[in-house]
Structures are given as C-alpha cells and as structure tokens.
C-alpha cells in the first residue's frame, strides 16, 4: 500500500464505498416507522415511565416492588418504599426477576412428551389433556408446589379438594426446624420475626440472615441500622458462631469457629450460665443446668474462656437477639438446635423485645421434606396416578437418593407448570408455560395483616404463549365441572380480597375505592390478631441436643452445603446477571468452588484452583478448590444452586450440583431435609483450572484503601493522624496536574488546574458518601446498576481474561481472620466505583476528549466520541473503567427488552464506567426546569443508592453545605481512597468501618 495508495486515499475510497452501500440499502422498506397508539392510554405519556406496584416472587420473603415500565415493557424493578419488608430496597435476586421475565429460554408453547423429547401443542389440546388426565386420576392426583401465594393456594386447594387428591408443598430452602422449635418452645406454630434493628447484641449460630435466610432485604436494613455506628458512638455488636463464615459471618465483629452441629449445646450452656446469673428459663431451667460451659466448650472446640466472654456480653446487653442455625446448619438435631437458640432468646430477654410473634413471618417457607418423601414413596408404589408440579424443582434440588426422578417416571400422567424447562419439567408428560410473576395476578401475605398484591406490570411477553397459573387452574376447574365464582384469576383474586375487605369492616370505604388504593400502593394493612405475652412452655416431645451423627469415615472433613446468596436454591441460575455477579464471599462467578482452609489444603498438597474429587457415601462431584481462611480446618463448604443439566443456556454445565453429595434424609422432628449430615473425602484429580474471579488480592498491604477505626477511639474523638501531608506528585512525563489543595471535594476546581475550570458559584458538584460501617457487601447495588445502566455480561471465558463490565466492583479485604480461635474477625467491603475525581488522571490522556470533566463535577464518558484507545483505563488508579471488547450488549431476543431506553447501549470498542446515573440527574434537572424550580436535595437517587438495603449510600451536591451528602460527609470517619497519595480529589467519600477491636492506624 505504501507506493500504490496512501493511507488517507484508502480511507477515502473506503468512505465512498461505504456511502454507496448506504444508498443501495435505501428503500422505502427501510424507512423507520412511527407507530402511534390507536387510542392513547390515559396514564401513559410516550417517553415517560409508568410505575406499577407489585410483589417480588423470587423468594418467600415477599418484598413489595415498584416496576418501571416504558411503552409497555418492564425495564426495572425497585423496592416499594411503602412495603414493610422491602422498605424501598431490593436484593440482587429481586432485580434479576427481569431476566426471568425476558429469558430467551422461556417456554414458547405448551409441550407434550413425545418419545425422549417434547413437541409443541396448542393450549386447547394441552388443557384438554390436563383435564382428562386429572379427571381419570381423581383422588390419585397430587399437586407438588413451591411456596404459593395465599389466594392461589386457596384456588389450588379447592381444586385438589374437588378431585379428592392432595397437595404437598416443598421448598428447597425451608425453615421447618425453626417453626417446629417455635411450636415446642412457645406453642406458636409459626416463624417469628427477628428485629435486628432494635438489637444491641446479635448472636447468629450460622444463620445467613443477610443472604438467603427468611427475609434478607429486611434483615440487611435492620442489621445496618443497629450495627452501623450512631452519632453518639453507640453500635450493636454482632457475634457469629459457625464453622464457615458466610457473607453474614464476614460482617461479624467476632467469630467463634465452633464445631458444626454444636450450636444446641453451646446455646443451652450459655442459657444455663445466664440462669446462674438470675435469668429465667422457665420449664427449661433444669435442662439448661445440665449443660455447663466447659462441656459446651469441649463440644464446640473453643476455649471455655471465650464462652464466658459471650455470657458477659449477653448479660450486659439490653436487647440481645439470637438467631438459629439456618438452612446450611440443618443437621439431624436441627430442631433441637433451633429450640436451644429460642430458649437462649427467652432467657436473655429477647422475646417481645427483638423477637416478635405479632410480626410472624407468615409467608416464610417451612415445608417438610418428610411430606415429599411420603409422596415420592406413594409415587413409586403407584398410588399417585397424576402429578402436577409447580414452582419447585425437586429433580434438581433434592439429593439423588430421594428417588424423585424415578418416582416421577412411574407416575402415569405428570404435568409441570413452569416458565422454562427445568430438570423436573423435562420429566413431565405435559409442560404448561406459566406466566412470570410480573405478568400475572397474585398476592402475598408476608406478615399478619400485611397483604400485598402482585399485579401484572405488562402484558405477557409476546414471544411466549404463556398463561397465568391461576387462569390455567380456573380453566381446569371449568373443564372438570368444578364451580368457582370467577372467570379469570383477576376476578377470583378480587373476590377473595373483597371478602377480606368486608371481614375487616371495609376500611377505606367501598371495595372499588379500596382496591384502587391497593393497586396504587401495592399493599393493604388489615388488623391482625393480637398476640398476647409469649412464654416458654414445657416441651411436648423429647429432643436430643447432642452433636448430630455424621455419615462417612471419621477421618473425613465435615461438609457444609449452603444456599448460594446469588442463585438461591438454583432457580436464579439461568440469569446472566446472577451468574456473573461475583460471589460476595469468594468473588468467583459462573462456576462452583469448594472452600477449604489453607492449612488443610497445604497438608493435602492442594493449591487454589486445583480440581478435587469430593466423595461422600452418597455421591461425588468434582470442583476447583478456593482456599478460604473463613472455614474450619475440619470442614469444607460448597454452594447449592449450580450444576444444572436442563435449565437453559446460562445455567447448564455451569458448576456442580452439591446436593448430589447429600443423602435424602429428613430430620426426625421437623421433617426438614438435612444439609449438615455427612463427612467428605477430598482427593486431588491432578487437574487445575483458573478461577473465574474478579479478585486481585484480598490484602490491602497497608495501603489506605479501607482504613477502619476502633469504636473506643471514635468515641474519644481520636481519629488518628490525619494532618495533610506533602503531596507526592505523579507528573513526570505528563499526565494530570497535581495542584496544592486541601483535598475537599467542595473546593474543586482549584486555581491553576487545567481541566474542569468551571465557576463553583454556578455549578453543583455531584458527590457520594458510602458508609462502610453499614455496607454489608451484599452486592445488590451491582445488579441494580446493571439493570439501570444496560451493563452487559461477558460470560465465563471473558471473565477469566478480566474483561468483566461491571461498573461497581465490590472489593473485599481480609484484615483479621482466624479459624483456630474465637476472636475478632475483620473483613472489609468497599464498593469501588468511578470516583469522579476532581483532578482525574483519565481525562488528560484521552486523545479524543471522550473522558472529560462536566461543569457539575462528573467525570463524563462520551461513548460516541470514544475510539477505544483504553489510555484512560490504563491511567485510572482505581481500575473502574471497563472496555467492551466484543459487542457484549448483543443479547438474544427478548433479553434486550429489559434495556433502559434512557441509557445508550454501548457498542463494541467503547470504554464505559459508572456515570453517577447521569440519566437520573438529567431527568431530575429536566423535571425541575419544566416545573420552574431548583433541583431539591435528595431528588437525584442513583440506582445503587436506591437499591441498597443497608442504606449505606447518600448522593447529593457537595457544594451545598446543607445537603444531606455534605452533612453525612462532615464526619471524622470520612476519607477518600488514595487521595492523599495522588491528589485525585475524588467525589466519593467513604466513611470508615468501625470495629470493636484495635486496628492499625493508616493515614488517610
């Protein structure tokens, strides 16, 4: 080309050819069309979002949500601030509901078994098949369902009753032992509410209440409110007792690495010690006296002195709260362990203070595996001639030994109602595509008197010919000749609500007005039955509190199979948002890993990433090792939820199904499936893999990234050495200009700085404050950001090359962690986003001015300017800029329906990063301008802040001294990451974590 054609000529020719191609493509067929409404819906303005109140269907916690729709599509799910459970926030799984709604693997039509596969059939055929199948089966019909909304349950039970069949409920994550323990201890057959907010001492015997346990969003909020340091320096203390530190455990102040299964003994011994100091254990007084601290210390493998410390803490606490073992800790004596925790609550005065029955978790899952086991044996024995499965996936979530798959093959006629194929549906003779919860009617009743409506927020996604479960059942009822009082499930639901409204004495006037109000608010509060004083009762059955029996060889390691905080029991596995969300504990995405203590691994000669074979008497799986100091040396842990075979393109073949290692054994008392039940042998396979992790290092190496302060120092006003030090200049061969400053965001810009020289009097400076004493690392913000900002996923292979596109990186640093001795644990989380530096190193290196400073203090990134040199990312000290290497935004239809039309969908070859949700800022500015007023403080809420269940994030104008942001930032704990080293003058103020133990003072 050098002599024949110059480069510029070549480009010119290319340009002309390109234009020619453009002209050829120009025909009337390609003219973009503008399609108006035929009749405009009254409440919709084109281009303006419409919000509907509904209820989240991801887990039984029953959060109320608001769903943003635009031109008839749901594009974002947010918490409903009026709802007592969600309080306006949401977790990562709640956000990901959109990816289930628009999942490209959803069923397109009803399917009938044909040989080994399924063939599509019409709804008419399907309904006929369903009705005749169940009519023939009659009393041999069984419904197997997950946790179901109250009104749908009524309809289902009505139908099952008419058929003479039965309904069995099964949820893989069930709190049956807690419910049974509550019945034994207090005579209340329900799950109490745990009021973390009012507690000043929280003891968790393994419950992962910030992740999956009962009501994670609500617990995050309460936990952050009590353990986040207050203005007066008060702060609740959190002690975690368990063999493995979950994310919840990582937020503890102290960790007692007790032997798995010893919770019951420890709780009773603590209660006994409190009784010695004057506590009242009622009918359990003699029982708790049988357990002394030294025996408990022996059983738990911790020093007796540490338990004495705990007794002191409990004795001094004014409002302690004790939480039981949770699903991962359900062993053969799980009910006893839960009962012991409840007794300890009673002795320490928590009942009525922090443990409430008037707010009992009526929606929580407490199904018994025992009931399902009976059903399975009936299925094997031929007593079940028709089976309808809905909302649960036992073929995946049960251990192989349950025999569910074989039993299902043995049922003459099996039906699955599902949104997409799963391991259970694929075994069914008839598969009916049910509507997603955002496109069908339903309701929930998470607390006594609290009723929420699950309202469809859009018409069913047209790619999939689905029908609401309620409507399928009503049609079935008609075909079976069962009388119901409604044609559609919407009417049926309204009728039940009308009844409830009448029973409650018609609050809010006539039903129509009431119903309208409910749809607008998303919920209604009815008076609930008063709960009198709750007291300990004599146990009505004998329980063993001893260490549970474990299967497997004595020299094996204890195996913990815990619910994944991202994938739950596995139902979130076909959503790229959740698969690619780095696990809050391990920072690994997409695949499974086994957590092994580094010393144990070293003894076996295993390194991080080595693939090992895990073998129990019940099964084996192979997975890579992630060495983790947060698990006892005699224990290994692996998450549930991965390893699907038939669940769609994002789930299949990703990771391993840890339930394959467990026996199908129920706990004798409550019938729950036991999780902590077996020991495991680990053998290296000789193979190794790179872990798909976003983690660089878990050590700060004394850099001032996440400094902390001890609570005593904070109270004494001693915040360490924070005199400004001389600045180190980075300039050298160019780059941004370090200028002398006092490094206050509000003093930006500085005289002499070349960039962003705007008049402070006329412009805001948008800034953020993140309280690291509240942040729990739950990572809801990451998924909220993905949803709001059209952040794409890259997949496992690209993640391995470090090409993830998340705008928020939840950094996790390990400061103090010891699995040998009880003592302080200090693990620090830091949500790292673009710092919107006042003196940003990325800006001057951009050759095309795509990275630049806006007058309102944002570090702008203009996608249409960006040519992809990546200089900015190389120059960013915070590593928050991400590059779209391969058109990751191209996703299969209709997953792209979820894209936010307010935000550009970035193309290949473009750099992107956190924009402080500039589209939300501009929206508010536009609104304020059209209304002829100023933007109000607190009016701009970025997606991360909106979603944060811990309420750790505040956003606002740093130049307004009265803004909440300024007020929060005027705190001795405030620091800016690495600012003192490189003078970047970030707009993100972090507030230091507060610890109970002494910490190294790092200059910030």
């Amino acid at each position: 080309m050098s002599d024949g054609m110059k480069r510029r000529d070549f480009l010119k020719v290319l340009g002309v050819t390109g234009a020619g191609a453009g002209l050829v493509g120009c025909s009337t067929d390609n003219v973009e069309k503008l399609m108006p409404y035929v009749t405009a819906p009254e409440d919709i303005t084109p281009g303006v979002a419409t919000w509907y109140a509904s209820a989240c269907g991801e887990c039984p916690a029953g959060c109320g949500v608001w769903v943003k729709t635009q031109e008839g599509r749901a594009i974002k799910v947010e918490g409903n601030p009026n709802h007592p459970v969600s309080g306006g926030a949401l977790c990562a799984r709640g956000h990901s509901g959109l990816q289930a709604l628009y999942n490209p693997d959803r069923l397109e039509s009803p399917m009938r078994r044909n040989g080994d596969g399924h063939e599509a059939i019409s709804w008419e055929e399907a309904e006929e098949m369903l009705a005749s199948g169940l009519r023939d089966a009659g009393s041999g019909t069984a419904f197997l369902t997950g946790r179901t909304g109250p009104t749908l349950s009524v309809l289902m039970d009505e139908l099952v009753g008419e058929l003479g069949g039965r309904r069995v409920e099964y949820e893989a994550l069930s709190e049956a032992p807690l419910r049974e323990a509550s019945r034994i201890a207090f005579g209340r057959d329900e799950i109490p509410a745990f009021d973390l907010e009012s507690a000043d001492l929280i003891l968790s015997f393994g419950a992962d209440f910030l992740e999956t346990w009962l009501s994670p969003v609500e617990h995050n909020r309460g936990f952050a409110r009590s353990t986040g340091v207050q203005a007066d320096g008060s702060k609740a203390r959190f002690v975690f007792l368990g063999a493995r530190l979950s994310l919840t455990g990582m937020n503890a102040d102290d960790w007692y690495p007790v032997r798995p299964g010893s919770e019951g003994v420890v709780a009773l011994a603590l209660a006994g010690a409190l009784v010695d100091r004057g506590g009242d254990a009622g009918p359990y007084a003699s029982l708790v006296q049988e357990y002394d601290l030294s025996a408990a210390a022996e059983a738990a493998d911790v020093p007796v002195s540490s338990l004495e410390t705990l007794v002191d803490l409990l004795d001094e606490a004014e409002s302690p709260l004790i939480l039981g073992p949770g699903v991962a800790g359900q062993h053969r004596n799980a009910t006893a362990a839960n009962l012991a925790a409840l007794v300890l609550n009673a002795v320490s005065g928590a009942v009525g203070t922090t443990l409430h029955f008037d707010r009992a978790m009526t929606g929580a899952a407490s199904s018994s595996y025992g009931d399902l086991a009976t059903l399975i044996s009936d299925m094997e024995g031929g007593a079940v001639s028709a089976l309808v499965v809905r909302g649960t996936n036992p073929a995946f979530s049960l251990p192989s030994g349950s025999g569910f798959r074989e039993a299902m093959e043995n049922v003459g006629f099996s039906v699955a109602l599902a949104t997409q194929m799963d391991e259970t549906a694929v075994l069914a003779d008839l598969v009916l595509p049910e509507g997603h919860y955002l496109e069908s009617w339903g309701d929930s009743n998470p607390r006594p008197g609290v009723w929420a409506v699950q309202q469809p927020v859009m018409q069913p996604v047209p790619h999939f010919d689905s029908r609401g479960t309620g409507d399928i059942l009503l049609s079935l009822a008609r075909n079976l000749g069962v009388e119901t009082d409604a044609e559609t499930f919407h009417d049926y639901l309204r009728n039940r609500w009308s009844d409830r409204h009448s029973e409650a004495g018609q609050p809010g006037g006539g039903f129509e007005a009431f119903w309208r109000q409910v749809l607008r608010e998303g919920l209604a509060q009815f008076p609930a039955d008063a709960v009198g004083e709750v007291e300990l009762q004599s146990p009505d059955r004998a329980l063993s509190f001893d260490l549970p029996e474990m299967d497997g060889e004595d020299d094996g390691l204890n195996l913990i199979v815990y619910p994944s905080s991202r994938l739950g029991d596995g139902r979130g596995a076909n959503r790229p948002w959740l698969q690619e969300l780095p696990d809050p504990v391990s920072k690994i995405a997409w695949h499974s890993w086994v957590e092994v203590h580094p010393d144990t691994a070293a003894e076996m000669g295993i390194r991080k990433g080595d693939i090992v074979r895990l073998e129990t008497p019940h099964g084996e799986v192979q997975a890579p090792v992630w060495t983790y100091g947060g698990v006892r040396r005699d224990t290994v842990a692996i998450a549930m939820g991965s390893g699907h075979e038939n669940y769609g393109r994002y789930a299949d073949g990703k990771g391993v199904n840890a339930m394959r290692l467990l026996p199908a054994v129920e706990e004798a008392v409550s019938g729950a499936l036991v999780h902590l039940v077996t020991r495991v042998q680990i053998e290296p396979t000789g193979r190794h893999r790179r872990l798909a992790t976003i983690e660089g290092s878990d050590q700060t190496r004394d850099r001032a990234i996440v400094p902390a302060v001890q609570v005593d120092d904070l109270r004494a006003g001693d915040l360490g050495d924070h005199e400004p030090r001389p600045r180190t200049e980075l300039r050298g061969g160019g780059g941004f200009i370090p200028v002398p400053s006092d490094a206050e965001p509000e003093s930006f810009p500085h005289e002499g700085s070349r960039y962003g020289d705007y008049d402070p009097a006329e412009n805001r400076r948008w800034a953020m404050a993140i309280d690291l004493d509240k942040c729990t690392g739950c990572s809801a913000c990451i998924t909220a950001c993905q949803s709001e900002n059209n952040v794409a996923n890259v997949g496992e292979d690209q993640l391995l090359m470090g090409r993830d596109l998340h705008w928020i990186r939840m950094e996790r640093y390990v400061e103090t962690l010891d699995a040998e001795e009880p003592g302080p644990v200090d693990i620090r989380f830091l949500p790292m986003i673009c710092q919107h530096c006042g003196n940003a190193p990325c800006e001057p290196v951009c050759p095309v001015y795509a990275a630049y400073h806006t007058p309102d203090g944002l570090n702008g990134q203009i996608y249409n300017r960006c040519v992809g040199t990546r200089y900015c990312a190389n120059n960013c000290p915070y590593k928050v800029r991400v590059f779209n290497w391969f058109g990751f935004s191209d996703v299969p239809e209709p997953l792209n329906w979820q894209y936010n039309p307010d935000v550009t969908v970035r193309a290949e070859g473009v750099m992107e990063k956190c924009s402080f949700c500039v589209q939300r800022i501009r929206t508010v500015e536009n609104r304020a301008s059209t209304e002829g007023r100023d933007v109000r403080d607190g009016e701009v809420v970025p997606a991360c802040q909106q979603s944060c269940p811990a309420e750790a994030i505040v956003f606002g104008d740093a130049r307004d001294p009265e803004s909440r942001l300024s007020q929060v930032s005027r705190d001795g704990r405030t620091y800016r990451v690495m600012d003192h080293l490189i003078n970047t003058q970030p707009a993100v103020n972090y507030l230091r974590k507060v610890t109970f133990h002494p910490v190294t003072d790092i200059h910030v």
Binding site: V31, K33, V38, D43, M458, G860, N926
Partner: protein, 194 residues
C-alpha cells in the same frame, strides 16, 4: 420486527390500563423512542425524500396553517401534546384524528376514508419517520419547549408544508451547538450524550 413489537406494545398498553391502575411518579423520565434500545445497529433510512409515501397524505398546512390562508390554525401542542411534558413529542393516537374527523369529513376525501379504515380496523397508522437524532443522543423536547424555543426553529414552517420534510436542518451536533451557543444553553457533552 419493529412494527410487530410496537403493535404488541401498543395493544398491551391499551389492555393493561383498562384493568390496572397506575402508580405514576409524575412526569419524571426522559427517554428516546422506545425502539432505540434494541435498534442501535439497525440501518435506518429517514423519509426526508418526499417520494416515500406516507400511508395517509397528511397535510400539515391544512391543519396547522393560518386561518387566513385557508388552514385551521390548530396549535402544534394539540396533537403533539407530550412535547411539553416528555422527551418525546409524540405522534397523536388515531383516536385523536377521529376526534375531529368523525364529524369533519370532506366529501369524497380518499385520505379521510383511509383514516377511517385504520380506525375501524383499530390499527395504528404506520407514519414514515422524518426526524430522528442518533441513538446516542438524548433530546428532551420539554426542555426546549419550556425554554421558549419555537417548534419552527427546528422543524421549519410545518404549517406551510403539504408533505412534511426536513428543511435546512442537518440535525448534526454542530447545528445543535450553534443554537446552544447563541442561546447560552449548556454545551456540556453529558447534557445530550449518556
């Protein structure tokens, strides 16, 4: 494809609203056309060439033209009502056309016949798009309306046009900025690009 989903969207909204009440947070969202998110790479020709026929020949000059010139002098906002509330000026629903044309029926007008056919079939009219800014541009109509920018400044003398066309507006960034500088409006990139 585009038509399909838009039809579905329009239909679904109409039905949805009939049974669900809305919790609107007021006029609080800006947006571009609903199709933007999915059609970043879709090659699109715009109907700036009058030879692209609209399904109905809609004479803006008759509707919006001055009454002295034989027009009806209908205000732009009567049909494009969301321009002052939303990013999108909006295309009037067929029902709005029929609001007048169920009574106003020039004898033998084929165009009104066609309009009635669309209405009777309850089908939207697939208008050709004449104005479109690039997908990476956010254009809030309401900001311009509230700042007192006359519609004609960008759209020309529509009230004199028989067939709508782009006149003298290249819709380039330079053209936008000329006006922004003249009016002392913001020249910050992130005002339009995000």
């Amino acid at each position: 494809m585009k038509k399909q989903w838009f039809l579905a969207g329009a239909a679904c909204l109409a039905i949805l609203v009939s049974f669900a009440f809305v919790h609107a947070r007021g006029v609080d969202e800006t947006t571009v056309s609903a199709g933007e998110a999915e059609s970043v790479e879709m090659a699109v020709a715009l109907a700036d060439d009058p030879s692209f026929d609209d399904p109905i020949e809609f004479p803006h000059n008759v509707h919006a033209g001055a009454t002295d010139d034989g027009g009806y002098g209908i205000d732009c906002m009567y049909c494009h009502s969301s321009a002052e509330r939303s990013s999108s000026a909006g295309i009037p629903p067929v029902a709005s056309c029929m609001g007048c044309h169920s009574a106003v029926r020039a004898d033998g007008s084929e165009e009104i016949e066609r309009l009635t056919e669309f209405w009777d079939a309850r089908e939207p009219i697939p208008w050709n798009r004449v104005y479109k800014v690039a997908d990476h541009v956010q254009f809030p109509h309401m900001r311009h309306v509230s700042a007192g920018v006359d519609c004609a400044m960008c759209h020309g003398n529509v009230e004199e046009m028989g067939v709508i066309e782009q006149v003298q507006q290249p819709l380039t960034m330079g053209w936008c900025l000329d006006c922004h500088m003249e009016m002392s409006a913001s020249r910050d990139c992130t005002v339009c690009h995000y």
